[in-house]
Symmetry: C2
Subunit: 209 residues, 2 copies
């Protein structure tokens, strides 16, 4: 197996933290996104979507989705369980992760990619050049603010996003907070449950990954 990674993007960090929690090490290839290495013919042959992370399997197959990579690793290395112990837990964790991706990550990306100089034709990841839409940056900011309010409410009576145990949903949500900071969309200070939880998950050794 080989993991195509990049230190500058939030997506591969979700996989790195997951691997760190599992105690699993995979040989890694760094892809320089700022130099456009994701658009080279050799990378496109691996992943036509031109995104990282990619997990290249020994068969040569490329797993190009973050959660698909995590689930594959979970099947190979079940402990510690990060994606649920029962069909019901797995289904509910999957729902939270999806919500974090749609309402959190994609909202923040909407704000960031549609307003950041240097990303003028990069409003979405992928091979298609897409112009920034200023109204979309504004919509992303609004959605991100609502997302953090929801996350705070969710954490009011749960230790972690999905309940009493740390799961892949916490990894995904941790990355949204750090991504939001980079996009100058820091969650407001009055969201104290979010703050308490963030202090805990960000101080786990895996968060350095």
């Amino acid at each position: 197996m080989k993991l195509y990674d990049s230190p500058t993007a939030p997506s591969p960090r979700r996989v790195r933290i997951f691997l760190a929690e599992k105690g699993v090490t995979i040989p890694t290839v760094q892809v320089d996104l700022r130099a456009g290495e994701q658009f080279t013919p050799s990378f496109r042959a691996l992943n036509p979507q031109c995104t990282v992370p990619v997990l290249e399997l020994d068969s040569g197959a490329a797993v190009t989705d973050i959660i698909a990579i995590c689930r594959y690793i979970e099947e190979l290395h079940p402990e510690p369980v990060l994606m649920g112990r029962t069909p019901e837990q797995r289904a509910l964790i999957d729902c939270w992760v999806r919500r974090i991706e749609w309402d959190g990550i994609s909202a923040i990306a909407e704000a960031f990619r549609n307003s950041t100089p240097g990303l003028e034709q990069r409003a979405l990841p992928g091979p298609l050049p897409l112009a920034q839409i200023p109204a979309l940056a504004e919509r992303g900011r609004l959605r991100a603010a609502h997302y953090f309010e929801w996350l705070d409410a969710q954490l009011a009576d749960h230790a972690f996003v999905c309940g009493p145990e740390f799961t892949v949903a916490d990894i995904s949500a941790l990355v949204t907070v750090d991504f939001a900071r980079r996009a100058k969309l820091d969650p407001p200070d009055h969201l104290r449950h979010l703050k308490r939880w963030y202090g805990e998950v960000a101080s786990r050794p895996s968060a350095k990954a």
Copy 2:
């Protein structure tokens, strides 16, 4: 278990087709989206995201994501296998489904929701009113066109989206074609591999679901 469904939306149809392929019947509650039943207090208590489908489990937990519902059903009723027989197959099917969702369903929804009269404040599903952005409708049309070209290329040398077997990826892709038609974004006639595949999957009995 109870499935909250609606005949007018593409999302719950993905679950209905999946259940039909499995031969599984679940008691169903119809949610009238046009009358705004997804915004009533009782529905919000079940799913604060105000979307269908929702699978309410016997424990009272609500599974609100399409693929999480499908995976839960697959765990309870493994045959016929629709989500992969091995960790590698499961990971790759997951990637295709994600791609169909991002590049297909979300692109078509972008075009449809940002241009359809009556959806002026409904540019995204969910509880937050969001104004239509005309530039986003245009972007969605462009992305949908690229998606269908990709799908056609993928089907050039595969019987089904993920290879020789019908999977949940075919269900998701079938729904994108029908959703695109409704949005007047029909795949062009020259995409003959797509046309061949569509003829096959749309004539399965499950497609009537």
